[in-house]
Amino acid sequence: MSDSLKRHHCLEPFSEDSATIGSSASAEPAIRVTFDGHREFYNLRGDPADAAFTDAVKSFTGQSIPDKANTLSYRECTTCWLGPDEWLVVYPSFEAGRFEKFSTELDSTDATAVDVSHGYIVLCLSGDSALDLLAKGCTLDLHLSSFNVGDCVQTGIARTAAIIANIAEGDHYEVIVRRTFAEYLAIWMRHAGAEFGIGFD
């Protein structure tokens, strides 16, 4: 029943209210932010040395879990490294029954998966100044020499715990945050991004 309802996310009113802000308000802004609240997130815990676990994940997601810290693997879904025995699997859209199937797949292993889809939202940033904006609220070195496609980092942005995923060439970044912090972070981005020019879709 609930599967047939349209899923809303907390930032829909925000994007409707927000025009482009900043110095280049008339032109295309240097940063574009879109909200994606319709993805599926599974928190995955398991032993990467356990072949039964890694094989089960690979057969379901079609890709190996990343074993290197602060990296991700990306095909049909994104799997972010969160810790030595913890990952976040992100599917781009909701599909009824998928989590149950995934969970069943892991039944014969010592691993667990938890559907945390309702807990997260993604702020997709693009544009020349996207990294400059993130750098204003984040202590990490986001320069190309240390942050490339295939990297993902857990850090704080303007005090908010967030995951920054670098999944595509060309100044495109995904910021995964808790839903309850998303509005605060979006407001922060609106303020912090004004100097570059920022637009919300």
């Binding site: 810290a69 810790g83 030595p84 202590t139 990490l140 980092v153 857990q154 704080g156």
Partner: protein, 96 residues
């Protein structure tokens, strides 16, 4: 801001971490057999050295793992960090 090397994530800013106090305090196996003074020692007494201190940190805004660190309490410089359950490296990353 201190620069702390998480044994999993590498160098990160202090603001991503929580401090967890002195490292290596083992909970007594049989608390019932301890005297009150021994229990008090376990519970409350701390080395609090002026100089190198072995302590616990948690990478709260990162991989959320606890790890061990050795830090100089005067210069605040971290001399080495290592994963829980492992032994520290025999050499220090930097001198204190």
């Amino acid at each position: 801001m201190l620069l702390i090397k998480c044994p999993w994530c590498g160098n990160r800013a202090e603001s991503e971490f929580n401090y967890g106090g002195e490292a290596g305090i083992a909970r007594p196996a049989n608390p019932d057999t301890l005297t009150d003074a021994e229990w008090a020692d376990y519970l409350f007494m701390r080395k609090n050295p002026k100089g190198l201190h072995q302590e616990q940190w948690n990478h709260a805004q990162g991989c959320r793992r606890w790890f061990n660190a050795e830090r100089d309490t005067v210069t605040y410089r971290f001399t080495r960090t290592w994963r829980i359950g492992e032994a520290p490296s025999s050499t220090r990353d930097v001198d204190s």
